[in-house]
Symmetry: none
Subunit: 199 residues, 4 copies
DNA sequence: ATTTAAACGAGACGGTACGTCGCGTCTTTGT
DNA sequence: ACAAAGACGCGACGTACCGTCTCGTTTAAAT
């Protein structure tokens, strides 16, 4: 999620001495105050580092938060239990966690808008987080196809968007609760075509 | 999308003299610069009005944008063609338009984060736009139930979240294209349980 | 001494509400800490004003200090006692005061270098202070010519540079004391050609 | 111009390996950008040396520049032509060169203020440059006294301040041109009491 | 017609945070 | 011992934009 930047250490190698402390402090601040209210100076102080150090390694506030999220959100992997439905449910539960646990909850939407304005930055977040996350799901689906649980020509991308998108939208837009059975019901929809009924 | 505010004219009645010009200018600015980069002063100038006037009637930048969107996005209604599938597809196409046409595209995510931080503000946007939009869909679904096209105990809320959420997520997060057939394929998924195949 | 600037109120008219308090605070800070060590924020606080206000009206720290000096240093006028020598001594004593009283002492040299880097800024200081100061001296000299105390074709500019420059140089460069009789001895030099003797 | 410092090599002996390259680079940078705008890092790069090396040998930017000037400005000696007036004119011409040739022109005033803030530093510059320079002038004056050209009780210090100060002041403050005959006219003033006429 | 109140234009201001710059220090690694 | 490399602390600078405030003026309804 970096700005289109030449900062040397936004990606992986080297980076600042206290890289871990910084990213942790960033996620903490994010969880406490949300994206708009958190301050770069606050993150620096919390990490025991000077603000200038942050700007030496990340191009902007958005960039810093982007990489912190990419480094902080778990991407998987999803266990292979042999049961396609269970695996997908597990994956979706992970997604729900990612979008509802404090740091991401407040940060993701702001980031998407903030960084979408400069071309190429959103790509960074996608590469550093989404791609890994989605490839794990795709692997599960592939296993499901092998087992005959899923048609071979399924549109995996759309399937994932249905699962993750519904959850994302509930969380951020419609505000409907993400209750207990939601993961199962969505997986059943995309897997077996079970029209969702009222619980 | 108003702040929990006592501003007299955020809702409908009265309001500033140039209410229409202001809301239009807001949407224009939104479309051109995005939420973060647009400025209240810029909107005021564009509307031929002084900044103070905006703050007399809306509590904040977010509030202004929220109401502009609420007033600017079409909510429906959806025609009753007698064919449930066609009606839902038409509704979903409207949703896609709302989320991909320039103003909303750049504004929605920022807004959701910006306003979600102060409790109760997101409610305003939901009331002024989402509720109307969703009630139109619900009406279509009800007609579908009457026709026997949809089970009576369908979870309408979840159904709408699947439709709108998938589209929203593609647009903002995964970045996958919203190609031609997407509306039909999603409607077929929630209506007939047709697992989405590659086109 | 302003930057080549379009700030509306650097010169005279209007200006910020607390113009006087600001200029006074600037001179105070200058006297206490010197040019390099004083801070714009400190001036703002002292003046009971916000830093942004200063930058709304002056282009930079140097510009602010320049105008403060221009406004703070007395330029004259010099009384006409009827005695050319006495008048010139009085004028030179004023100059000594200007260059040795606390604010200017620490500020002038820094300013000269700081602002000389951007063409035209030094001009501002000259116009807002030096010109007035020098015209008073020139008037005295003119009266002296009328009285026959000074040759009509005297090089007034050079005469003033000898007087002020010697004082300035002692203060800033050579560090020799500006003792009691110095004004008289310099005036006698340029007026009567009396080679300076040890006191 | 050093800080009251214990740096081993600020004065003469030993010093860094590339002492000459460093001092030259310092003067170059000074001439190009002026004191404020030049950077220590830039000097280091230009000298093919690391910044830390500079700080091992000089206490500060000001100190470095001070010594570079002390080493870079010629102090004399002034030839003894047997003619007091000619000798003094030659000396003053050297002074004019020192204050108008590029490096010193931009550096001196800034330095004086920058270093005057820490007590004792200006002393360094005086010792490393001014004293030598002034002793050459004093020698010339002494010879002039021996020849009977100058009264024995002349105030040599003041005489030098008049000569150098006027030039310094023209260059930095009043901005009047340092035209051709200026050296002669000033020398004639202090030597013969010739009131300066318009050329 | 005149009064009066609401709305508006104008624009300075306080405030928060951002991102930048350059000095001077320090640690690590050679040589 | 000295030097290269380069991250870092630190203090300040100058900028942007938000939202508030005061004051004078227009507009329009009410008397």
């Amino acid at each position: 999620m970096p700005a289109a930047s030449t900062r040397p250490g936004e990606g992986d190698p080297a980076g600042p001495r206290d890289r871990h402390a910084i990213l942790t402090a960033t996620l903490d601040a994010l969880g406490e105050h949300g994206y708009q209210r958190m301050t770069v100076e606050g993150v620096a102080t919390r990490a025991g580092v000077h603000k200038a150090t942050l700007y030496r390694w990340w191009a902007s506030k958005g960039s810093l938060v982007g990489w912190a999220l990419g480094a902080g959100l778990p991407t998987g992997p999803v266990p292979d239990t042999g049961n396609t439905r269970d695996d997908l449910v597990a994956w979706l539960r992970g997604t729900i966690d990612n979008y509802t646990s404090t740091p991401a909850e407040s940060a993701l939407p702001a980031l998407l808008s903030d960084l979408a304005s400069e071309p190429g930055t959103l790509e960074g977040f996608r590469r550093s987080f989404l791609d890994a996350r989605r490839s794990h799901c795709a692997a599960t689906v592939t296993r499901g196809i092998a087992r005959g649980d899923i048609p071979a020509d399924v549109d995996v991308g759309l399937l994932m968007d249905v699962l993750a998108g519904t959850v994302f939208y509930r969380q951020l837009v419609s505000g409907e609760p993400l209750d207990e059975g939601i993961a199962e019901r969505l997986v059943d929809l995309v897997l077996a075509g079970t029209v969702p009924r009222l619980p």
